[in-house]
């Protein structure tokens, strides 16, 4: 004979098929161990049902709700996480582009080397000053050209 198994609990719950329920009933009738197992399980259930209903301690539900609210505050929604990730992605792209531009700017050789021709600039200035009719003022820029700057 097989020892009593979990069919005992299922039998009392009434969830066995008709064939299985008949088989368990036959075992209980023929095997004292099965009959005792069924009686013990039934007694335990009866004892549990006879226990009085236990009320939660004062403040229990208040504490539970406070704890739930605290958890809600600490939780970041998936949507906000998604937005943040989107922003970080653009910032990252911007930084990367700036770095590339910076490196590119450094890498591109600046071929426009400027050698200011002070003599020509002096002439351009004195022409703007309208000093052509003044016989002495044009002399200074010419001296600049002749003597100091080429």
């Amino acid at each position: 004979m097989n020892p009593p198994d979990d069919r005992v609990s299922a039998y009392l719950d009434g969830v066995l098929s008709a064939a299985d329920a008949d088989a368990v009933a036959a075992l209980a009738a023929s095997d004292p161990k099965w009959a005792a197992a069924i009686d013990d399980e039934r007694a335990v259930r009866s004892a549990l049902r006879s226990l009085p209903a236990a009320a939660p301690p004062p403040g229990f539900w208040t504490d539970v709700m406070a704890s739930v609210r605290a958890d809600e505050d600490s939780v970041t929604s998936l949507e906000s996480r998604r937005r943040a990730r989107h922003t970080y992605r653009w910032v990252g792209a911007g930084v990367a582009a700036s770095v590339l531009l910076f490196v590119g700017a450094l890498a591109v050789p600046n071929e426009r080397s400027v050698r200011p021709s002070v003599s020509h600039l002096a002439e351009a200035h004195s022409a703007r000053a309208g000093a052509a009719s003044d016989p002495v003022s044009p002399v200074a820029p010419v001296v600049v050209q002749a003597g100091l700057f080429k």
Partner: protein, 329 residues
């Protein structure tokens, strides 16, 4: 035309001093005002022929330098060595012995500041310059510091000498000898203009600066672009002028002439030269090379440069300009 507008505007400004500018000696007897005298002096060379020798003197550090050059004038054209300048076709510079011409275009009316906002003008004299009697127009700052003397021939109104006073130093250009209305110089004008023409601009491209007011009373009266890409800002305080040139690129410091002095202008390192024309300052920033020069006292050129250095671009704009400088066209 352009010079006439410029001189006319300056003369209008000077005219407000007429009542107070007539001063001592010779001027009192003739009743000539400083404004009238300067206006007449500006026009004198247009109707005069002359030939002479001009001496340029300036101080470089502790050394006084002197240069002597032949000068000729022919009714509006002035020739110094082989270089001839004339006003009739705009302003042109050409080589009498060659075939090159440089023209400066632009006939804009410029709002030249009233010089009396900064200076008191007066007439003294006469004094002798190269054997000619001359009246002297003095320009002093409002606190009495002498800045410029202009010596004007009492007979022909030709400018015979000009002194720019900088403290104890004086930069001068003067005739050592001059014969007026005796010779008839002939200058051959080349038939074809072979050099560049600059044009007037309403604004400057990004990355370049054009403050309207700079230094101590200098106002922007013109923006130009030469064919070689050089931008010119032309400033005036009504008496002196300063130009700030801007060129894209990196300054080739090795190509700068010797004799420069390293200075800091508005927090930027610059090289300063003393020339017979006045101070010259060269510096670079954000891929632009700046050159400031003019006939103004050196302190004024430095003050103008300082204002230009301290432009009002934001830090971000400066960073962007610096980054884009190598690829800017």
């Amino acid at each position: 035309m352009r010079r006439a507008v410029f001189v006319g505007a300056a003369a209008l400004g000077l005219a407000s001093l007429v009542a107070s500018a007539v001063v001592p000696v010779g001027a009192q007897s003739s009743g000539v005002s400083a404004a009238d005298l300067l206006g007449a002096a500006e026009r004198a060379a247009d109707g005069t022929t002359f030939r002479g020798t001009v001496i340029v003197e300036w101080t470089d550090g502790t050394t006084t330098r002197r240069q002597e050059l032949p000068v000729e004038g022919d009714n509006g054209r002035v020739r110094v060595g082989n270089t001839v300048r004339e006003q009739s076709a705009g302003t042109e510079l050409f080589d009498a012995g060659s075939d090159w011409v440089v023209s400066w275009g632009g006939t804009e009316e410029r709002a030249v500041p009233d010089p009396t906002a900064k200076y008191r003008l007066s007439v003294i004299g006469p004094v002798d310059v190269a054997g000619h009697a001359a009246q002297v127009v003095e320009a002093r700052t409002l606190d009495g510091q002498l800045r410029q003397r202009t010596y004007v021939d009492t007979d022909t109104n030709l400018v015979l000498r000009r002194d720019v006073v900088e403290g104890a130093r004086t930069r001068s250009v003067q005739f050592a000898r001059v014969d007026e209305n005796e010779a008839e110089p002939q200058f051959a004008h080349p038939p074809i203009a072979t050099a560049g023409v600059s044009t007037q601009l309403r604004s400057l491209p990004d990355g370049m600066v054009a403050p309207a007011q700079v230094g101590n009373g200098y106002r922007l009266v013109g923006r130009y672009r030469a064919e070689n890409g050089t931008y010119q800002l032309f400033y005036s305080d009504g008496l002196f002028t300063v130009s700030v040139f801007q060129q894209d690129g990196a300054l080739d410091t090795k190509a700068l002439p010797a004799g420069g002095q390293r200075v800091r202008v508005g927090g930027t390192r610059a090289t300063q030269y003393t020339t017979p024309m006045g101070a010259v300052l060269v510096w670079q920033r954000d891929g632009v090379v700046f050159t400031a020069l003019g006939d103004a006292p050196s302190a004024d050129v430095v003050a103008v440069s300082t204002t230009v250095v301290r432009d009002n671009r934001s830090t971000l704009e400066r960073v962007v300009d610096w980054l884009l400088a190598p690829i800017r066209f």
